[in-house]
Amino acid sequence: MIGTLVDEYTFAVEPGKVLELARAIKDPAARYVDAGAAREEGFTGVPAPLTYTVVAGHHRDAAAAVELLGLDIARVVVGEVGWEYERPVVVGDVLHGRRTVVDVKRKAGSRGGGMTFVTLETEFLDAGGDVVVRQREVLIETGRS
């Protein structure tokens, strides 16, 4: 399963989406809504909050991805998510995300119901083909109860 392509999509980083996410995480910083404030802080444009790539949820089909991985969606939880940044994501970026399986581990359970840990990595590339951010998520399929 390692190396399997889970999904890929392209989306533009839009000012309205950055504002919505900043509001939704209750971050009132001016840099997320005001290009002047962003420039004063040294950004080339309005930057996006650290977890901005969650908006890819609008471009993904979570149920289809879980089915492709052979997991039971009723027993899947996200245990961990991490981001590594090459540079801040800024409004105007057009990002291409490509999500693949990078690790699969199974743990035997005490009552016969083992747990499966699937690590997915998404590389978000800008229009020039450079990596902007790498996102890793660990999906956990819990044992049957």
């Binding site: 939704a24 209750k26 650290l50 977890t51 609008h58 245990g79 998510v81 991490g82 801040p88």
Partner: protein, 126 residues
């Protein structure tokens, strides 16, 4: 360089719906009361990414958005409507202009809802 401490909440169902719209997570467990109860949950609960995002503000307020090299979260307890979260720095290690820190969002009952590991560089000018 004194790390900030922030409080958010009480979290409302509207907060959860707002995050669903922002992030595109329309799993009904997070907004549909009847569905959540049928699935065995007492009520709807927030998606972990909501509190992960709230906790990220602590990192950017403290260290600066452009100084952060990596941010990783692990979810450990659910956040329910009515919960109040305290966002704080649990551990920090500074080496020159680099910082590695553990942040946590703690519910009013003392349970850690989400823990984050953050690494930042070039923070000397802050």
């Amino acid at each position: 360089m004194r790390p900030p401490e922030l409080t958010v909440g009480p979290i409302t169902r509207t907060d959860i719906v707002r995050f669903a719209g922002a992030g595109g997570d329309f799993n009904p467990l997070h907004h549909d009361e009847e569905y959540a109860r049928a699935a065995g949950s007492p009520t709807v609960f927030a998606m972990g990414q909501m509190q992960a995002g709230m906790l990220s503000r602590l990192a950017t307020d403290w260290l600066g958005l452009d100084a952060i090299e990596s941010y990783k979260v692990r979810f450990s307890a659910k956040v329910w409507p009515g919960d109040v979260l305290t966002l704080r720095v649990a551990e920090q290690e500074r080496d020159g202009d680099r910082v590695e820190a553990v942040l946590e969002a703690v519910r009013q009952d003392g349970e850690v809802a989400v823990r984050a590991w953050v690494r930042a560089i070039d923070i000397n000018d802050r």
